[in-house]
Symmetry: C2
Subunit: 119 residues, 2 copies
């Protein structure tokens, strides 16, 4: 089964993941909601620089920001990450099949070798 996923969404997700600061922000948010100040804390980075990364993550749909609470906490959105994994996984099955075939072939060769040695 080859799943259909919007190319623009996958572009945005993978592009957002291609930066170590953004991955660290997602890793932090995986443990729970956090305010922009809390997210900025561990990075040696200005608040506007962190905000820029948050905007990239937000545009990619990987995080959302509450408009209700005063702290406007950020929250991780799992769906695009799930789609990204699904995209990779759908092809992983092919390689694993090919690796299994190679394993089976090598085993056959080994057994033939053993038989020849026993003759």
């Amino acid at each position: 089964m080859v799943l259909y996923m919007r190319p623009e969404q996958l572009n945005a997700t993978f592009s957002a993941l291609a930066d170590p600061t953004r991955r660290a922000i997602l890793a932090r948010l995986a443990t729970g909601e956090a305010s922009v100040n809390e997210l900025a804390e561990p990075f040696d980075m200005s608040l506007p620089a962190v905000t820029k990364h948050l905007k990239v993550l937000q545009r990619a749909g990987l995080i959302s920001q509450s408009r209700l609470a005063q702290q406007r906490p950020c929250k991780l959105e799992a769906k695009p990450l799930q789609d990204a994994v699904n995209w990779i996984e759908q092809y992983r099955r092919f390689w694993e099949q090919r690796l299994d075939q190679l394993d089976a072939y090598l085993l056959t060769l080994q057994n033939q070798q053993k038989e020849q040695n026993n003759e």
Copy 2:
């Protein structure tokens, strides 16, 4: 368990995956080796443009090119993709736990509501 993966490698992998042509090339290579000409065929693109994408994939370690055969076929390398999935998956467990907790909480609320209605 939080796995350690080289940040530069993950940057390169996700960056390479952020383009639909490169994803299509990887999808093609998942079904077997192919020459540069074979890879270029389905795209409305010049050979140098395709070669440029192949170089990005090669630098990210996602494909390798044989130096032996005359056709110099390209081959998919699964390891970086596996690492990319692992990076996403290690955090997915956190969200799923949180989703499970939310489910359990909602179920408790529902049961309380039912009990109240039956009183």
